[in-house]
């Protein structure tokens, strides 16, 4: 099992969700996060004084999938979240040692 974590632009969340549902992905966890990468921040003026928005709002999507699904899911996220402009985000994959469904106690792939 792998944990796929994707940081995407907030307005792309719906596209990513629809693409993953089409693949048959049954669940995901979404959080609102802030951060910066190569895009950096930008400066704005508020009431005549400058300030920097260093952390840009993003959405983090987390999904646990079977090893065999990883490539399809990553490709789907890449396509759905891509605008071609700087700040589109990243996807990374980490190994999951164990997975338990709280309601039933099922483990492993059954719990996905």
């Amino acid at each position: 099992m792998k944990l796929i974590t994707a940081i995407v632009k907030p307005f792309k969340l719906d596209d990513v969700k629809d693409a993953l549902k089409t693949l048959g992905i049954l669940g995901m966890t979404v959080s609102e996060v802030r951060g910066f990468g190569r895009q950096g921040g930008h400066s704005e003026t508020y009431r005549g004084a400058e300030y920097n928005i260093e952390f840009v709002p993003k959405v983090r999507v987390e999904i646990v999938v079977d090893d065999t699904d990883v490539d399809r899911v990553v490709a789907a996220i890449r396509t759905a979240a891509n605008t071609g402009k700087i700040g589109d985000g990243k996807v990374w994959i980490t190994s999951v040692e164990r997975l338990v469904r709280i309601r039933t106690g099922e483990e492993g792939s059954d719990a996905i």
Binding site: E44, T45, R47, G48, A49, Y51
Partner: protein, 457 residues
């Protein structure tokens, strides 16, 4: 009281019969006997209308408290929001009791000669038959209108001192300005005191100076004594923006203040008269021009139209036309409002630079534009009224009114500067003015009141 009620009962009936006549129904019914009863005179009707309108206007002005609270809360951070609403709540409630007990007597009571030209002293607790009132107004109607204004002057300061003032220290300040400082200023003009008794009387129709500049000057002194919020200035000393946590709050607050201003200015006629239409027009044009100009100036200056500053521009325009709301014409209102909307943008930057940290721009909106609008009466007044106001410089009246306006603004500014300096210095030396650093960082809501403005679910 009883006979009054009966007479107006008859009056209502007569109106009903009149309406039936108009539709022809009364010809068949034919009951003209009521017309023979003694009806109310025009003066009776006028008296009722005056009282009703001024009470409605007072309620509109009291509603402005909600506007002030929202503007201040919106332009500051969420960790202080409960404290800000609490301060605004107490401005009205503490102020109302003290203005009832002593403020009204200082502002309006007693003789108008000798010491009475500077401070009143009769009619404590509104008790007795000789309590001052205006024209047709019941003394309690007049009091309600005046207490709304006192609360406005007090609450202006809250915004400038936001996010770092001890709550109890703020309440002490608020009590003193409502009970003593504001009433004395009012005495000088609306209370028939020395500014009103000058050869060419000072003219401040609805309080650009008496209410707004008084609040604005006190706000500047308070903010200066407090010092800037942590993080307001970078290591290089340059001012940094601390964006407000809820712009919709701030702009909704501006809308509520705009609505309230239609009680503030037209109500200041202190009676029901068609002239309130003209005053409402000037209020509309002044506020609108202020907002449009503030928007344009920030747009050209900083590249984007600044939402919060445009709200400030609306208020600046409204403050600007308040002094001359009756005596200026529509063109004057547009020019004064536009100028105020421009001035406020630069004033905010100016106070930022001299390290008076005013999160909502109260000093600029109320202090600077209050003074400007009052002086502008000496230029734009297009009305001559014996013993009340002369035409301004631009309308062939010479400089008499302008000089009186400058005297009034300077005198009130100096008085408020001195008294609030003493007040804030005393508070600072006794109970202290500013919260400690940890409290300021973590927010006043928890430390001062024990409850966050926004609890987690």
């Amino acid at each position: 009281m009883q006979s009054e009620k009966r007479r107006f009962g008859a009056f209502t009936k007569r109106l009903a019969v009149g309406a039936m006549v108009a539709t022809g129904a009364a010809l068949a019914v034919g009951t003209p006997t009521l017309a023979a009863e003694e009806g109310p005179t025009a003066a009776d009707v006028q008296k009722v209308l005056d009282n009703v309108w001024i009470l409605v206007a007072a309620v509109l002005v009291i509603f402005m408290q909600a506007g002030f609270a929202l503007v201040e809360a919106g332009l500051t951070r969420g960790k202080n929001v409960a404290n800000i609403f609490m301060k605004n709540l107490m401005d009205f409630c503490v102020g109302a009791i003290l203005f009832f007990a002593v403020g009204y007597a200082i502002a309006f009571g007693g003789e108008f000669t000798g010491l009475g030209r500077f401070i009143g002293g009769d009619g404590w607790f509104l008790a007795g038959d000789g309590v001052f009132t205006y024209g047709n107004l019941d003394k309690f109607t007049f009091f309600t209108f005046q207490v709304a204004f006192a609360a406005t002057a007090a609450t202006i300061v809250s915004g400038a001192m936001a996010e770092r003032t001890k709550f109890k220290s703020y309440v002490i300040y608020s009590a003193v300005i409502s009970a003593v400082i504001y009433p004395i200023v009012v005495r000088w003009q609306w209370g028939g005191g020395w500014l009103f008794q000058m050869d060419t009387p000072f003219h401040d129709f609805a309080g650009s100076t008496l209410v707004h500049m008084t609040g604005g000057v006190a706000a500047a002194v308070g903010a200066k004594f407090l010092g800037p919020r942590l993080g307001k200035y970078g290591p290089d000393g340059k001012p940094r923006a601390i964006p407000g946590h809820n712009i919709p709050f701030a702009i909704l607050g501006c809308f509520i203040l705009l609505v309230g201003w239609y009680g503030f200015n037209p109500g200041s006629w202190l009676g029901a008269d068609p002239v309130i239409g003209k005053i409402a027009l000037n209020t509309t044009l002044g506020g609108a021009a202020g907002a449009v100009l503030a928007m344009l100036v920030t747009w050209f200056k900083d590249g984007k139209p600044d939402v919060a500053m445009t709200g400030n521009g609306l208020l600046a325009g409204l403050v600007g036309v308040t002094a001359g709301a009756w005596v200026i014409n529509g063109l004057g209102a547009l020019v004064i409002g536009a100028a105020a909307g421009t001035i406020v943008v630069f004033a905010v930057t100016f106070f930022d630079r001299i390290r008076i940290d005013d999160p909502v721009g109260a000093v600029s909106v109320h202090g600077v534009c209050g003074a400007f609008g009052t002086i502008a009466v000496g230029l734009f007044s297009s009305i001559e009224s014996e013993g009340v106001v002369k035409k301004g410089l631009f309308y062939g009246g010479g400089a008499d009114q302008l000089v009186s306006q400058i005297i009034g603004v300077a005198a009130v500014a100096a008085f408020v500067l001195v008294t609030t300096t003493i007040l804030f210095a005393t508070i600072k030396a006794t109970v202290g003015l500013r919260v400690d650093e940890q409290e300021e960082r973590e927010g006043l809501d928890i430390h001062e009141h024990g409850v966050p403005g926004y609890s987690p679910d």
